[in-house]
């Protein structure tokens, strides 16, 4: 298989397999959670908790005021990833082709800025995993793998766009393949938090909301 064939496989069947796996896997993970059910609430509640649940989904996007110092880097790379994934013009084109929805992409220099920012903050976060005592004690080997799987698409994407590396076609293929790896890993690793965080926040917010507390 040469570079062109590899790129074609990655763009075609590779992407299809990864998407199917991801969608199937994520659905399964969500069902795994839902199937466990929630105990019935017999206490006289102050509110149904539904509104508060949704409120927490939004509210926790901003950290508690004391937590900024632990979370700023992580925060930046999440924002960076979001921008790069959804506003890089070739990506918006892809979403248009696949889902038929289109929104304007952002100029390349902005995307470049966010890419470099994300790469830098991710490296800082990796160091923190070793340095911050609480984070270190919680870290398992898979966490480093998950970090790498998230890091690769950024680096390969940057290299492909700037024509760094041996061959553009190969680099682009690598980029797409690394994204597919990320997609496949999403449901089977901690990366699943990209979806289940909303459930966690909802449950916390609604349990507290029933008691009249906003979290």
């Amino acid at each position: 298989m040469n570079e062109v064939e590899l790129l074609n496989w990655a763009r075609g069947p590779g992407l299809a397999y990864a998407t199917v796996f991801m969608v199937f896997g994520l659905t399964l993970r969500v069902l795994e959670i839902l199937s466990l059910g929630r105990p019935k609430e017999y206490a006289k509640v102050r509110s149904s908790g539904v509104k508060e649940g949704f409120r927490t989904i939004i509210r926790r996007n901003l950290p508690e005021k004391h937590c900024w110092k632990y979370i700023t880097a992580t925060y930046i790379f999440h924002v960076g990833l979001f921008v790069v994934i959804f506003f890089f013009i070739p990506h918006t084109q892809l979403f248009k082709d696949v889902f038929g929805v289109f929104w304007d992409g952002w100029p390349n220099y902005i995307i470049d800025f966010f890419t470099i920012l994300s790469i830098a903050t991710m490296m800082y976060v990796l160091i923190q995993r070793r340095v911050n005592p609480a984070r270190r004690i919680l870290s398992r080997p898979s966490d480093y793998f998950v970090w790498l799987v998230t890091f690769l698409p950024l680096v390969t994407g940057y290299m492909a766009f700037h024509r760094i590396g041996p061959d553009y076609t190969l680099m682009l293929a690598m980029h797409i393949l690394s994204v597919e790896l990320l997609m496949v890993m999403l449901p089977v690793t901690k990366l699943v938090h990209a979806v289940t965080f909303a459930m966690a926040r909802y449950y916390n917010g609604s349990n507290a909301g029933r008691k009249g507390v906003k979290v």
Partner: protein, 423 residues
Amino acid sequence: MTTSLEQGINTLKRVIDAPIASYFSSCTGCGICSSACIFFTETGDPKYTPIRRVEPMRRIWEQEYTVIGKLKKLIGLAKEVTEQDLKDNVELAFESCTTCGRCSMVCPIGNDIVYMIRRMREGLTAAGLAPKELQAAAVRTMETGSVMGFPMKTLEAMVKAAEEETGIEINIDKPDVDYLLLLSSAEVMQFNEIISSLAKIFKEAGVTWTFSSKAHEAGNPGMHMGASEIEAMMINRIVEAAEELNIKKVISPECGHAYMAIRWEGPNVIGRPYPFEVYHIIEVLDELRAQGKLHTRASSGTVPMTFHDPCQAARRGGVNEPQRNLLNMMSSNFKEMNDSMACNWCCGGGGGMNTIEKAEPLVRKVFHRKRQQIEELDVNIVVTMCATCRNTLEEGVEDNGMDVTVLGLTEVVANHLLKENES
């Protein structure tokens, strides 16, 4: 597998629900929860990172309730939970956690970590690993109806004394009155002025109330232990008492965990809604205030004071405004602590910790945070609404040689009213 291990594991399997599964699925291991936990911030020891306290439960969740975990188990990659794992967890779930729930406020993912810690306690208790002090308290409560073992006779004597002091008749087992009043053990033992205080306040407000000889205390060690049958047994006594006396409103004392047990967990552990409503005493007083039945001038005091929000009543129980309404009514110089209400720092003694002998040095050490919060404000009066907090604060204040008086809010209200009437 020994029977106790099996019981522990079965209980953990049983208590894992959708919220817990969503929390474990989502945790990224960022460690930020540690920054909210007094046991981490005051010691710097990462072993106290909140989410670590439920690690055995996480493994059970993964192995039992996820496809990936089951596959791992199949090929021998899963680390099963052992008796030693559970034993090692006792320190983290019972002896260095007040179940204050502050960690649940900061997790960026949104995990309600303390919700899991409480369930973890259930598993440990089922495995026969609950700290002996909590077990003893549970036995005392089952036998005498009182956490510290004061039988109804003790309360009767105090009621008599309060009647003599105030000249007001205090009811025991009187049906069809407005409220059934429950106390905490600490109130019976140390802070019993609350009985005459309330007698006066209620008389003034024209409220009728009674004690019940069937259920005089609301303290519930079953809750701290995570022993739902014991918790239910104590709740049922109160439910029966209120039903027999045909009372529609039950008052939980100034005790955070009692409020949590009777107000929020009670109906769930007995599996049916109550035929009555439950209020924290401070909610009742605030309602009387709103109805104009507490006869006071506004803001007559200027003595600076602050308030310590008990975790179980405020952050976990939702009683945040009433205490402020009352304090602002009484003092024009009420100062909020930095981090208050739902984000307040725990006193360090709740969740059963101040009864656990082994935990004592830690309880003393972490008081540092509360000390800092109080000293920043330059006040000499700290008011609270939980007897356990009050005890812990008093000990901490004494331990640190601070010039601070700790008061219960009900007592403060009563004294204030009294002064008003004299003037």
